[in-house]
């Protein structure tokens, strides 16, 4: 079974965000980066499928040069090889343009399955997987909890709202967006990190299409609610809070 995993490099979760002058995007000089966590779960699912059924796991990532670090991490965890579609971040702010770049790299690989996270922690459009399926002409399912490949098809368990689930059968090839938390993530071993250095990373230059989405401005959200912020000594703020809950909110 040949599995492609589409991964993204995103700013680390606890990054302090500063809006760049001009208000169009972020100041990137003080950001550090990591693998998008939902994609890490997609990679884990792919690696476990390969361990069970054999085959190959190929990682595809669209991003600037720095994304190479995240690709190496995926290889160190056990992916066999990778394709890096190089493109500047500004060209990747539109989910459709990004998916087009990824689809052209995936097309020539003719995989059985394409896995990706259900959304990214940065832009959070939650659609790259579905758009990929449409561009590639593959079937798809989203928010997948379990993957059971069968002959020329795959049976998946999808999460619906309010604690409901559903099994869906799909013909291969198929794109699945994987729900976070369905398996325990592995760490890269020292051996894995060593091996990753010798694994193939094919670099292709992406030529992005004109964006279909215009970001007028980005900004820190305005407070919609009057929030009383308490800070300082823990004992002092704990006392103040209990006073407020007792006499102002009257809930204690």
């Amino acid at each position: 079974m040949k599995i492609i995993v589409s991964i993204k490099q995103v700013p680390a979760r606890d990054s302090a965000l500063r809006v760049a002058s001009g208000g169009k995007w972020l100041e990137d000089s003080d950001l550090t980066y990591e693998m998008n966590e939902p994609d890490a779960y997609a990679l884990e699912e792919a690696l476990q499928l390969k361990e069970r059924l054999g085959g190959e796991v190929v990682v595809v990532c669209a991003g600037p040069e720095r994304a190479g670090q995240t690709i190496r991490e995926a290889l160190a965890k056990g992916a066999d090889r990778a394709i890096h579609v190089q493109a500047e971040e500004q060209a990747l702010l539109d989910a459709l343009s990004t998916a087009r770049l990824l689809a052209s790299a995936i097309q020539t690989e003719s995989p059985d399955l394409v896995l990706t996270g259900l959304q990214s922690d940065d832009l959070g459009y939650g659609q790259t997987g579905v758009v990929l399926a449409e561009l590639l002409g593959y079937s798809h399912a989203t928010i997948v909890m379990e993957v059971e490949p069968q002959d020329n098809m795959v049976r998946v368990k999808r999460e619906l709202e309010d604690g409901w689930f559903q099994h869906v059968n799909l013909p291969l090839p198929a794109v699945l967006t994987i729900q976070s938390g369905i398996k325990k993530l592995r760490y890269a071993t020292l051996m894995g990190i060593k091996k990753a250095k010798t694994k193939e990373v094919k670099t292709v230059a992406g030529s992005p299409s004109a964006p279909e989405m215009v970001m007028d401005q980005v900004y820190l959200p305005q407070r919609q609610k009057q929030t009383l912020i308490l800070s300082g000594d823990a004992n002092k703020v704990a006392h103040e809070l209990v006073e407020k809950l007792k006499f102002e909110a009257r809930v204690l």
Binding site: A141, G163, L241
Partner: protein
């Protein structure tokens, strides 16, 4: 040209987010001067279409076909593609449900457009822009499509649902051409896993814990806080994903929706998926070391500080207050 809202139903019952999406569509309509049309998809949806006609819409169109009885991305996409090509709306508005997340990006791709997903507000200063949150709510962005049609989905709870009232709008049918061979996926019956033994929705007080707790071994700290308050213990998704607390204690879009008198969010940053599950709480207290954490947007009282210092101090103070 119109603003088309696609209402969502399952088994003849509305998803109530449909009418929040309708409220957003009304706002786009007011700004652009284009009338609001509603579409209902399914098999034998006459009654639902009549029901929708009582809402503030210009027209309701039923896309009725036996192959739409059960949701499939292929069926829904094909049906809406035909309809949108026929009527050419300027903006198509969806509720941001799990179902919409499954097919709307596929549909918009057929028109060479991305979906402007999970929108929290509509800005109308001359032109229309859609406000969405990035970085799990830490950043906002005003976005618009480069050209029409624009495809937009609306976050749960972002708009007050439109109400029925006034004159009934006309109801029309649109005949959809669908063939079983176009539908590639075979869905089975939806099911629920073992009944929940914890009903957080009935809790008066909830202490909820997030990533900030760092390790499972630190959980007794918040358990103690819940105990002195007489509160139920809950968690954000990562805690349940790690198996530190059972899934039935998860609050958020994929867990339970709660509205207690007091909700303590301890070490929870406040990703959108969590906020939609708890923002109906009467009083919200947030404890987080990051002063920019979006949870403070939702909170009535916020403590910026180290939960490992603040929570024990709070336990002591509550004991004193209750003594």
């Amino acid at each position: 040209m119109s603003v088309l809202v696609v209402l969502e139903q399952r088994g003849g019952k509305w998803n109530r987010m449909s009418f929040e999406a309708l409220a957003a569509a009304e706002k786009v309509s007011k700004a652009s001067g284009k009338p609001v049309r509603a579409a209902v998809l399914g098999a034998e949806v006459d009654a639902l279409a009549q029901d929708a006609a009582a809402y503030p819409v210009d027209k309701v169109v039923a896309l009725d076909h036996p192959l739409l009885a059960q949701y499939t991305p292929d069926g829904y996409t094909a049906a809406l593609e035909q309809f949108i090509k026929a009527v050419q709306p300027a903006v198509i508005v969806f509720p941001h449900t799990y179902q919409v997340r499954d097919y709307a990006p596929k549909l918009s791709t057929r028109f060479g457009k991305p979906l402007i997903s999970d929108v929290v507000d509509v800005r109308a200063n001359g032109s229309v822009a859609f406000v969405r949150q990035l970085f799990q709510g830490k950043l906002s962005a005003d976005i618009h499509g480069a050209s029409d049609p624009q495809f937009v989905s609306i976050q749960a709870g972002a708009f007050r649902a439109a109400e029925p009232g006034g004159a009934n709008a006309p109801v029309e049918k649109f005949s959809v051409n669908l063939d079983a061979s176009q539908i590639r996926s075979t869905p089975e019956e939806p099911f629920r896993e073992a009944q929940r033994s914890v009903d957080l929705s009935a809790a008066e007080m909830i202490v909820s814990v997030g990533r900030g707790i760092k390790e499972k071994e630190n959980l007794p700290l918040v358990e103690e806080l819940a105990k002195v308050l007489g509160a139920e213990l809950a968690a954000s998704r990562p805690i349940c994903d790690n198996g530190w607390l059972p899934m039935e204690r998860q609050v958020g879009s994929s867990g339970q929706t709660v509205s207690p008198k007091v909700y303590f969010a301890v070490g929870i940053s406040g990703a959108i998926q969590h906020l939609v599950g708890m923002k109906g709480s009467k009083t919200i207290v947030a404890i987080n070391k990051d002063e920019n954490a979006p949870i403070f947007e939702a909170a009535d009282y916020g403590i910026v500080g180290d939960l490992f210092e603040v929570v024990p101090a709070l336990v002591d103070e509550i004991k004193k207050a209750k003594a």
